[in-house]
């Protein structure tokens, strides 16, 4: 396995992880915002989470699509 392949794998995995983390925090932030209005949105733009997740997902797909949608082992 070449080092270039490994680098792609690692970066792809990190981007995929970032995507999942951002989606998780976005959903959590939306939920918190419903219960406690202004908790997040008074300081941060909620859409920023979502757009960052979309951008991370796009880069992840470009670099290593398999990291975002890993094959299920039998």
């Amino acid at each position: 396995m070449s080092s270039q392949y490994l680098t792609r794998k690692v970066i792809g995995e990190l981007l995929a992880f970032t995507t999942r983390t951002l989606v998780f925090w976005y959903i959590l932030a939306v939920f918190i915002e419903m219960v406690l209005p202004g908790f997040v949105s008074s300081h941060l733009n909620l859409d920023m989470f979502l757009w960052s997740a979309i951008i991370a997902a796009l880069f992840s797909l470009l670099i290593d699509p398999s990291s975002l949608f890993p094959k299920q082992s039998a």
Partner: protein
């Protein structure tokens, strides 16, 4: 190959942990802010978009839509009518707030900013934002003396201290006052005390301030009081008599024992002020009560007896159950002020009052209606006729219940307003005002406001910007940013005060 992959595993997990923890740190910071652990909350609104905590100025028409300067990117909202309101939601209740406004002022001479402390009945707490005539005097280099929070500006430096000026107020020169009482020097050598009693049989709601003039007579006034118990609170009563700024007498009455909103009216009897041997001059009688207390009748031996700044008229069918035999006929008031605000909170109070013959249609509840004099020469007073009462009437000046009772205690003194001209004045004495600081082609002004006494849980706050005459004179105020700094005791102090006693 497997070994090579494992070599990368450790740093990958570290990076993953960092990626996951960054939002965690942000959430921790938001929690500290939301819970006000350190007792502070800062909110800044720059009109660039919608905010969960701060709404832009309303209503539409008086406040224009948010705008953006495409060249500089600066966002702002223009105020072209008044009053305008800004709603702010905070997660906790706070003790006080400092509001810093970043604005540009296109010639509006008199602007105040404050807080709506009660919607029904309307009660506002205003502080000075931008008083053009004071700024102008300072810019023209008038001499300035300050003492105990009172500032004296002099065109020619005649007095060495504020106390000297107050003791020897010149009677032949123009004096402007702002948020300072100087009228106690009023004397009238032509006045002869009348043996006739004066009965004010209009029912008034809440706290009022009365001014009276006595000379070689006893200061005597009887206040009949009723507690209507419409709000959840205790309603103690205090009547204070002031000479200059000193309390010379106080009458107290505790609550009737009904702190619930039972709406059961209780007759609280009569509180009497009876003071003999006083020196001739002006006296202030301040009735300190909340809006559950009605002053059902006032009987006084004084011929000259007027209310100051506010009258809350009750004589309306809305209060018929609370006051037996209530006269719901129209009321005539004699007002000195050049600006007037009226509001009703009940359908039965919708009406068309007339001010100097000019009708003013009050056709919505909880909405303040404003009237402003258009006269070149101001008369001594104007007649205000309220056909149905149930009106909160606010003005700046004296209000008499009969023509004979009116007297112009401010005859040598001009209460500073938007129409005051600097060339008419030689002195300005004021409190609670600091000129705004010039900044980026505009001004910065910080206004401290106590949240004490605000009705409700103090989490939904309504701020008010008042700029009398702004619409008529075609002025505008461009607000670029509003910053709210809320304060309360920090969590540690609160915990100590809660559990400290038991340890």
């Amino acid at each position: 190959m497997k070994q090579s992959f494992l070599r990368h595993l450790q740093p990958v997990w570290i990076v993953k942990a960092i990626i996951f923890c960054v939002p965690l740190v942000i959430v921790a910071w938001l929690t500290v802010d939301y819970l006000s652990i350190f007792g502070n909350l800062s909110i800044t609104y720059n009109f660039s978009g919608e905010s969960a905590r701060v709404k832009e100025f309303t209503p539409a028409g008086r406040a224009l839509d948010r705008e953006q300067n495409l060249r500089t990117g600066e966002t702002y909202q223009r105020i072209v009518g008044e009053p305008v309101y800004m709603n702010v939601t905070v997660p906790r209740s706070y003790d006080d707030v400092s509001v810093t406004l970043d604005y540009q002022n296109d010639g509006q001479p008199y602007t105040e900013f404050g807080l709506v402390t009660s919607e029904e009945p309307l009660s506002v707490r205003l502080q000075s934002l931008d008083i053009g005539i004071i700024n102008q005097a300072i810019n023209e280099g008038w001499s300035q003396i300050e003492s105990d929070g009172v500032t004296l500006l002099q065109r020619q430096s005649e007095f060495e201290s504020v106390a000297d000026f107050v003791d020897q107020t010149p009677e032949d020169q123009g004096i402007g006052v702002y948020r300072y009482r100087l009228s106690y020097r009023y004397t009238d050598s032509s006045y002869v005390a009348s043996p006739q009693k004066q009965v004010i049989d209009r029912v008034l709601r809440g706290g009022h301030e009365f001014w009276t003039y006595i000379d070689k007579e006893t200061l005597h006034a009887e206040f009949d009081l009723t507690d209507i118990n419409r709000d959840f609170n205790e309603d103690p009563i205090s009547i204070q008599v002031y000479r200059v700024n000193t309390i010379i007498h106080e009458e107290l009455l505790p609550d009737d024992g009904d702190a619930l909103a039972s709406a059961v009216a209780t007759d609280r009897g009569t509180l009497t002020v009876d003071l003999a041997g006083l020196e001739a001059g002006l006296y202030r009688i301040v009735v300190n009560v909340d809006d559950d207390i009605l002053i059902s009748q006032i009987r006084t031996d004084q011929e000259r007896f007027v209310a100051r700044d506010k009258v809350f008229l009750v004589n309306n069918s809305e209060y018929a159950e609370a006051v037996a035999g209530l006269d719901t006929g129209p009321t005539t008031l004699y007002l000195q002020g050049t600006e007037l605000m009226m509001q009703t909170d009940h359908t039965s109070g919708l009406q068309v009052p007339t001010i100097a013959g000019e009708p003013l249609h009050i056709d919505k509840l909880h909405v303040p209606y404003w009237w402003e004099s258009q006269d070149e020469v101001e008369p001594l007073f104007r007649e205000l006729i309220t056909p149905k009462n149930d009106l909160l009437v606010r003005t700046s000046g004296l209000i008499a219940f009969s023509e004979d009772a009116f007297f112009d205690a401010d005859y040598q003194i001009e209460q500073i307003s938007g129409s005051t001209a600097l060339e008419d004045l030689d002195y300005i004495i004021f409190k609670e005002y600091t000129a705004p600081v010039a900044d980026r082609g505009g001004y910065l002004q910080t206004i401290p406001l106590s949240l004490d006494g605000v009705v409700g849980d103090r989490k939904e706050l309504k701020f008010i910007l008042s700029a009398p005459g702004i619409e008529r004179n075609g002025h505008e105020i461009k607000v670029r940013e509003v910053k709210f700094d809320f304060h309360r005791a920090d969590l540690w102090t609160k915990l100590k005060s809660r559990f400290g006693g038991s340890s």
